[in-house]
């Protein structure tokens, strides 16, 4: 069961402390479950390994738990989480290779605006990830072969022993459903998260 609480409803460190007051490990686990995938996506870009990214993100959450009082100084939990993940990932890569990578330096200049953009993109990725799993079986299989494996319709048809026209129909259905689900998700969120999703919508409009 998921709370609807996301990084953006919990804005400051104090908000998060409110949520996990009196050592509520369950609440903190829920907070983790709502946010870890987005952060793993960020770490993965640097360490290029999902399982290491998972370790890094989990360690970061545990450190936050162990020094909860420091949250009082945190103005934006979102920015704090993203910057911590990036720093931890860079440290990991540097420790592994001991070479300074030019492109990693750019991460140190991440502004709050950059973070907001990355966060929204990653939220869309997680949303799509969940919605794709809900597609009807054959439709889902075709869609994944196309978008995750990069196959052309022709090759999907051969692989699944169906006609290319059937592949086209499944893709059409998938896009129709996903568009509906994403727009629906954007429109039915409560007022707190509406401001955030308004900008997600703008990603479509622009």
């Amino acid at each position: 069961m998921k709370f609807n609480e996301t990084i953006d409803v919990i804005i400051t460190g104090k908000d998060l402390l409110e949520l996990i007051k009196e050592d509520d490990k369950n609440a903190f686990t829920v907070f983790y479950s709502n946010n870890f995938q987005k952060l793993i996506l960020v770490s993965d870009r640097y360490v290029k390994n999902i399982h290491i990214a998972e370790e890094i993100v989990q360690d970061m959450f545990l450190k936050i738990w162990e020094d909860k009082a420091l949250l009082l100084y945190v103005n934006s939990v979102s920015a704090y989480l993203y910057r911590s993940v990036v720093n931890a990932s860079i440290n990991y890569v540097n420790r592994q290779k001991n070479i300074e990578k030019h492109h990693l330096k750019i991460a140190e200049h991440l502004t709050d605006d950059d973070i907001e953009i990355i966060n929204e993109q990653n939220e869309l990725i997680v949303l799509l990830y969940n919605e794709i799993e809900l597609l009807p079986e054959k439709c889902q299989r075709v869609f994944k072969l196309s978008r995750l494996e990069g196959l052309k319709y022709k090759d999907i048809a051969i692989q699944l022993s169906i006609s290319e026209k059937t592949v086209e129909n499944h893709m059409s259905n998938a896009l129709r459903l996903l568009r509906l689900r994403v727009i629906h998700h954007i429109q039915t969120d409560d007022i707190h998260t509406k401001a955030k999703y308004f900008s997600l919508l703008s990603m479509f409009l622009y």
Partner: protein, 320 residues
């Protein structure tokens, strides 16, 4: 509704076979016919592109990860917060917050300011947090307090780099002559002179409207256009070094020789003429920081079989 799916499906066919010029043309035309069509295109494209990025998440098991974390958390101990320390901290925070509250009067008339540069570059912070870096011999006009309904500034002349503060409630517009750039929060470079407007996007997305009648172009990070004012013609360009005038860094990634020369020409402000009759296929990959033109030409000579002749007003590059 039937019509919407038809257009969606044409778009999908186009994405599946991007090399099909007829489909590409069809999609480009249909997009222009209505706002609804453009919306369908953007939705379809966003889902098509973003879906591919979900692949990495499949290597993760959601339930196992949460269970795993819960287990680690169970064994973790919080550092004891001594109650006195807690109270002192809370008191300190309260004092700082109280001192921070103050009121400033609302302007009745919007005050407009002008910033102009001569030989030196300069930067301006707008009251929403947007940063504007002005090149030499440039001028912008901006309100002291940006309006609640929409943020608008004017690039009167020259070149400027904009790092726009993201505000989803108000779009940000830059007026350049008859043209307009519209964004929510991104960073981009505009170079405005008598004959053209050059726009290059560094992060985010922007919409460029040449004038009130022509259709707009949407640019994403890495893209650039050159809008010819007299011919009313828009051309797509390579925007990789659009902010070199600030960073003093030139980056070449898989760039063909003629494009490299175009970028060098723009940055060093010299005329470069290329006679590459052998059509050098090799792509150029290099980074230059604070380099002189001679240093770069030297590297080019090492990379390609060319002869470089420098005269007073132009550099000519020929095959050996």
């Amino acid at each position: 509704m039937k019509d919407n799916l038809t257009f969606q499906n044409i778009i999908l066919s186009h994405f599946n076979t991007p090399e099909d010029k007829f489909l590409a043309q069809q999609v480009a035309e249909l997009r222009q016919t209505s706002e609804e069509n453009e919306k369908i295109f953007q939705e379809t494209k966003t889902i098509w592109d973003t879906a591919a990025l979900t692949k990495r998440l499949h290597e993760l098991d959601y339930t196992q990860s949460v269970r795993n974390f819960k287990g680690k958390l169970a064994y973790s101990e919080s550092s004891g917060t001594r109650s006195f320390g807690w109270l002192k901290l809370a008191a300190a925070v309260a004092v700082i917050t109280a001192a921070g509250i103050f009121f400033y009067p609302r302007d009745i008339k919007p005050i407009e300011l002008v910033r102009e540069t001569k030989q030196q570059i300069d930067s301006v912070y707008l009251n929403d947090g947007t940063k504007v870096i002005l090149a030499a011999n440039s001028q912008i006009r901006y309100p002291k307090v940006l309006s609640d309904t929409g943020r608008q500034v004017t690039l009167v002349k020259g070149q400027a780099f904009f790092k726009v503060h993201r505000d989803v409630k108000r779009s940000f517009n830059v007026l350049i002559g008859q043209s307009k750039v519209t964004v929510l929060g991104t960073s981009f470079n505009i170079n405005y002179n008598n004959s053209s407007i050059q726009l290059a996007v560094k992060t985010g997305k922007v919409m460029f409207s040449p004038n009130a009648v022509s259709s707009s172009a949407i640019l994403v990070a890495g893209q650039a256009i050159n809008y010819n004012l007299s011919k009313n013609r828009l051309e797509w360009e390579n925007g990789s070094n659009s902010t070199s005038w600030i960073t003093k860094e030139l980056v070449f990634v898989d760039m063909p020789l003629d494009e490299v020369c175009k970028q060098i020409s723009a940055y060093y402000n010299v005329n470069v003429v290329v006679h590459d009759t052998m059509h050098s296929a090799k792509k150029f990959n290099a980074n230059f920081k604070d380099s002189s033109l001679d240093e770069i030409l030297k590297v080019l000579k090492q990379t390609y079989k060319i002869r470089i002749d420098t005269s007073d007003h132009q550099i000519t590059i020929k095959n050996l």
